[in-house]
Amino acid sequence: MDRCFSSWGSAGYLDYDGPLQPMRQDLSSPSAISFHRVGNSEKQAVNAAVERVAAWRAEDAEAGIGILCRANRQAGLIKDALAREQIDCVTYTGGGFYQTPAVREFRCLLEAVNNPDDDAALLEVMETSWGGGIATSNAPAPLQLTDSESLEWIRAKTQLVDWSTRVTEFTNGSFDRSDIQNLRHRVRLLNSLTRRTSPLNLVTSMIAGFQPSSAAAEATSAPEGLRYHRCTSHLLTILVDEFEGGSATLPSMLEWLRLRIATDDSEDEPVDPELVQGDRVCVALTIHKAKGLQYDRVLIPFTGAKFIRGTGKGQTSGSIVDHGGSPRLLWKWNPRRSSNPIQNFQTSDAEAQVDVAESIREETRLLYVAMTRSRNHLVAMVRDSPSPTATPQSWNDLLHMGGIR
């Protein structure tokens, strides 16, 4: 492994001054790292990975196995292939938090409490894991209602008709919404609490009082309930960071959350730490998520993907590079109906060259991270030969540079 790193260091792709001391005895043993030859297709890499993991499991049922991928999609492929072989594997990939059920249902809650006149929002929140709490006969203690408010809550007993009934009983040109009145009354009570406490306090009181995770667990499964619980808790920490001490209002919180749900796919969903590290786990994860984690055995199945992909038809690509101290955008558009891409730079431009070199350095760093995650054994899947180019185009090329045997 050190030979690999040293060769990348000499080529200027990695800042590497030799192994850290003390060195793990395992890394110096010949069996610590091996390279398996696979064909060029993704499918062949997946099959080889499944075969390797199955062999490891057979050797040692207690070993923690990490399968390190470049992209979320690849981790998903591995997980599915292992599942077909009845080998348990979880994925640990980036993003997706704001699209989880817990967050989307929390948006429903905010929507309703923010505007109790919105019948659609009222019914929608009642479909979620918050609904049971809002429908409960006595106001949960954490809401801290006054005596008279508690009495109002009890009086506003909530019983709703289902959609089929609402449609069937459409008469005199209108839907009957009388069943929603009591619900509206309760949600108005919730809304009115912001007059004496902060919206953040209200939110936490509702989490404690309505216990949406319990309902989620009962409606789906215990693990889903725990996931819901994790996500709600994570969302609350984000809300506290975002809004505490500032002027947090329900509309601003709702607007912020809507935007996140629609556009933010970078926030990671929190995971159960026990599922992604430790003994007996088998995790397919991206290398970005693997930083700081270690596994007894590590597999790097996909090494053939090119660092710099061509810009597909109808696509644009761009990167910002340093141009004498100020930023320059290198931009390329490959129109659907034209054979010539449009770009604002020449491949020979110094900035473009620097951009390519930086991409190689970044990919080398990632591969370095991947290769240093194993405690006992590392396997990388490689192709028979490197690309016939002067500079490395893929991890496969980097590994060949290191003189794989």
Binding site: N115, D162, W163, N201, D279
Partner: protein, 911 residues
């Protein structure tokens, strides 16, 4: 007169009194000064009058501050008679006059610094980029220079490494000249007239401890407790006490001479060049220790941990903050909880564990606070120009939702928040107040005329009529046109009222602060009628901090500044140097409902046994042991010159030592927890916990605590494992989920066959062909059926012109109306939309209902229904499964692409 340092392996009270007596120190006649408020409070509780050093520093410096009217006087602080009472609430009450005066002076200092900095930014830096940054971050900047000044430094003793630091140093220099109170602490602690400082110390101690000092009297001893590290201003204070005739300074040091947990004491008390004397070890009876006193020593030195070393200690892993909070809920043993970053932990504990205890309210969180803060924030202050009113959408939304904006004549059925949500796109590009007012007026006119003419929104009509009106009016496909006349008028009045209210502030030339604050107080009071009297008074007491400004004539920018200081977001209280900002316990009594205390409060355990088990939380590798940075932004330790006079050289070394020794300090606190005993001398259970995932980051156990764990947790060799000993971290699986709740949905009791619903407008019904949930949310029950995404607005423009033609509006007139209604878009965007419009007059209204139609998919089918090519009966609204409150959404990207309720639909496909 002199200083001594006395060490003992145990400081337990009352045995320590005997040990000190053997060294010639009389506990009962001495003055007791502690490092922390918690230790002072604990000593007072056990009958020993004590004050924390932060209070002593205030006592010797604040009385000399310049003030408008009455400042503070030493006699405002309680004397020995009141200090001797063991009831902290009574003590707090007797110290309230002092506390209010001190807060008021410090508020005034912040105001004066801010005023002087803005003047410097304008006059000298001419509002350059650096000037703006300096002013924008002034609170952090003030904290940094106050820290450096109290450590004895002046700007010329620092060097800059960039232009911004240079400007910051120059600004600091100017502030020294402009704000006399800024230098008071430095002058007393580090000034050339040491005798003046000594007098201040003597006066303060004489008053608080009712001392009779004099040449012919024996020296009074001042015992200093809990200083396992100290800071430069504290060191300077020690030098003043040392120089005071008739005072003898005695440091009480917790150290047995060998245990590694006490290393930090040795670092700070074995530096002869710092003029703190070497440690004396009195020979007194040794105090028996519990076996766990040896635990950390063994762990740090790699020796096996015996069962007795780990007995009663547990290490707990919480998966997330919610599990941590639930454990607090189940805290039957009533453990005392301590944590690094305790404020955050306390927040989680209160919010998730005991929200019913969380009655702390900040003005800025209440609607009235939101209203007042936002109103002041609308006043834009530009250097050299008259203040202007600048409105942003977020501020407007917050002000309106607060409910405090006086808008007259609002009809009962008008919800301003809802109106605002629909109409905000029309105000895109508006900035100045008058632009908003003009556009609101224009919208009101358009609603009354153009939109009304084609079937405007009305209240109190049937759903059938509502849908038909809406689907027949192409202009109402955009939400700002979907307003009733009343709603549009109310919106206009609302924006006018907002601009009026903000203009009243902007027009202030000068105002007497007393008058302005009086008005502010009455508005706040009126806005807090939902709060209990206690909470309301607590919130209003914040305004008293500005008492020193009562007589001041202030300009509009200063009014805005004061309101921000009083009501606005606080500077991040997490000090760069953990625990150094120790306040007097008395000053924290009103916050004492906390669940989690600062880690440094553990110092009490060195003196007094704990009646409850101990829980140290948040012991992850990210937070424990803690690091410390002595110098705040924008400077660093490296900025301090090496060519310093003797005192400042020591000050710098103390800061460096603090940074380097921060980890050891935490090891000491951990040792105190591990060796804690109950009053009967039996070791107290200790729980050490950490949260495995915080803010999305996976965390590991602190390396310091990891040393207490079994190094071979999974090894098969039981004998080796037993020999090495150590704890195995366990999970707390009490979980957070206790109750299961579901909504109740009434069973179906059909009175009709459902055919009447098919009489609804076919263009509305058509959407159900794409997605039944869309129909329910958009048409049947939602607040508006209009499209809400910006790209839809642009798509609709060109097609709306054609649709207007289908309603017999001539083309020129149709363009004129749409140009007016889409005035916030550019001419290019409108031209592009017109060119791309692909509907004909005949099908435009049908197309607008779906925004799709030429494809052979659900949109195509829906389009055919909307166009009445396919029969309405092909729409089945009854397919929803029984018991569902709303139909299930199709959740397909293609179907959701043009859905106007995508952003509010639980089932929407998000690409």
């Amino acid at each position: 007169m002199s200083t001594r340092t006395i060490a003992s392996q145990s400081l337990e009270y009352p045995a320590i009194k005997v040990q000190l007596a053997s060294a010639g120190v009389d506990w009962s006649s001495a003055c007791h000064v502690t490092a922390t408020g918690s230790l002072a409070s604990a000593l007072r509780h056990h009958g020993t009058p004590a004050i924390p050093i932060a209070t002593l520093l205030d006592l010797i410096t604040l009385p000399s501050w310049q003030s408008i009217g009455r400042g503070v006087e030493l006699t405002d602080f309680p004397d020995l008679a009141e200090l001797d009472i063991t009831d902290e609430l009574e003590f707090a009450e007797s110290a309230s006059l002092w506390r209010k005066g001190a807060e008021s002076l410090k508020f005034r200092l912040e105001f004066d610094l801010s005023r002087a900095l803005r003047a410097y930014a304008a006059d000298t830096l001419h509002w350059s980029r650096d000037a703006k940054l300096l002013v924008a971050t002034r609170r952090e900047f003030f904290r940094s220079i106050q820290g450096l000044a109290s450590a004895g430094f002046q700007p010329h003793e620092l060097t800059f490494h960039n232009k911004f630091q240079q400007h910051a140093l120059e600004a600091w220099d100017v502030l020294i000249g402009e704000v006399p109170n800024f230098s008071k602490v430095r002058n007393i602690l580090w000034g050339s007239d040491q005798q003046a400082g000594v007098r201040s110390v003597r006066d303060a101690l004489s008053h608080v401890f009712s001392l009779q000092l004099g040449r012919d009297r024996p020296a009074t001893q001042v015992i200093l407790h809990g200083f396992y590290f100290y800071t430069p201003p504290q060191w300077a204070l020690f030098q003043l006490i040392d120089a005071a005739p008739s005072l003898e300074q005695v440091f009480l040091v917790h150290d047995d001479g060998k245990h590694p947990a006490f290393a930090t004491w040795r670092q700070f008390f074995s530096q002869t060049e710092w003029r703190i004397p070497y440690i004396e070890r009195p020979t007194g009876p040794s105090i028996p220790q519990i076996p766990r006193a040896d635990t950390l020593d063994r762990a740090l030195s790699g020796r096996p941990l015996l069962p007795a070393n780990t007995s009663g200690i547990t290490i707990t892993k919480f998966r997330n903050v919610a599990e941590f909070a639930v454990s607090i809920l189940h805290n039957a043993e009533q453990s005392l909880m301590y944590a690094p970053d305790h404020a955050a932990m306390d927040g989680y504990a209160l919010r998730l564990g005991r929200p019913e205890n969380n009655d702390a309210v900040d003005i800025s969180d209440l609607p009235i606070g939101t209203y007042i803060l936002n109103l002041h924030a609308l006043v834009e202050l530009r250097p050299g120009e008259r203040p202007r009113i600048r409105i942003d959408q977020q501020a407007l939304r917050d002000v309106v939702s607060s409910g405090y904006l006086p808008v007259g004549g609002l009809a009962d059925d008008v919800s301003l928040s809802s109106v605002l949500n629909r109409s905000l796109p029309f105000f895109e590009g508006c900035d100045q107040g008058h632009e908003w007012v003009e556009r609101a007026l224009a919208l009101s006119r358009l609603i009354r005329t153009e939109i009304g003419a084609l079937g405007g929104r009305q209240s109190n009509i049937s759903d059938q009529q509502r849908m038909a009106d809406h689907a027949g009016n192409p202009l109402r496909t955009v939400p700002w046109a979907d307003l009733t006349v009343d709603e549009a008028d109310a919106l206009h009045r609302c924006i006018e009222a907002l601009v009026d209210a903000a203009s009243k502030i902007a027009e202030i030339e000068t105002v007497e602060m007393r008058e302005y604050l009086g008005d502010l107080r009455s508005r706040l009071k009126a806005g807090m009628d939902h709060l209990s009297q206690d909470v309301s008074n607590k919130v209003l007491s914040k305004l008293e901090s500005a008492g020193q400004l009562d007589e001041e004539e202030v300009s509009v920018d200063e009014v805005v500044e004061v309101v921000r200081l009083l009501l606005g977001r606080q500077v991040d209280k997490r000090s760069e140097v953990p625990d150094e900002d120790q306040t007097d316990k008395v000053e924290r009594l009103d916050q004492d409902r906390r669940e989690v205390s600062p880690l440094r409060d553990l110092d009490v355990l060195a003196y007094f046994p704990s009646a409850h088990p101990i829980h140290l939380a948040n012991l992850s590798d990210n937070s424990f042991p803690r690091s410390a940075a002595s110098v705040g932004w924008p400077f660093s330790l490296e900025c301090i010159s090496n060519d310093l006079p003797e005192n400042l050289r020591i000050s710098l070394q103390v800061m460096q030592a603090r940074e380097w020794q921060a980890g050891l300090s935490d090891a000491y606190l951990l040792h105190l927890a591990l060796s804690s005993r109950d009053p009967a001398g039996v070791s107290q259970p200790v729980q050490l916990s950490y949260i495995e995932s915080l803010a999305g980051n996976p965390l590991n156990l602190s390396p310091l605590v990891e040393l207490l764990t079994s190094p071979l947790r999974h090894a098969a060799d039981q004998t080796v494992r037993e020999y090495l000993g150590g704890l195995i971290p366990r999970r707390d699986d009490r979980g957070a989920m206790t109750t299961k709740m579901f909504p109740t949905v009434e069973g179906i009791h059909r009175n009709s066959d459902g055919s009447e619903v098919m009489t609804l407008d076919h263009r509305a019904l058509a959407t159900a062909v794409v997605c039944q949930r869309r129909f329910a949310l958009q048409w049947a029950l939602g607040p508006t059926a209009s499209y809400r995404a910006r790209h839809h607005f642009l798509m609709i423009f060109g097609n709306a012109i054609r649709a207007l033609q289908s309603r017999a509006v001539p083309l020129d007139r149709a363009k004129e109306i749409c140009d007016d209604l889409w005035r916030f878009t550019t001419r290019g965007q409108r031209a592009s939309s017109e060119v791309r419009a692909w509907t004909y007059q005949q099908n435009a209204l049908a197309w607008l209902a779906t925004l799709g139609g030429s494809y052979s998919n659900s949109y195509g089918d829906a389009y055919n229904v909307a166009k009445e090519v396919a029969p309405v009966s092909s729409v089945s609204l009854l397919e929803a499964r029984n018991g569902a409150l709303l139909p299930v959404g199709v959740a397909e990207e293609e179907a959701c692409r043009h859905c106007p309720v995508k952003d509010r639909c639980r089932d929407a496909a998000i690409s």
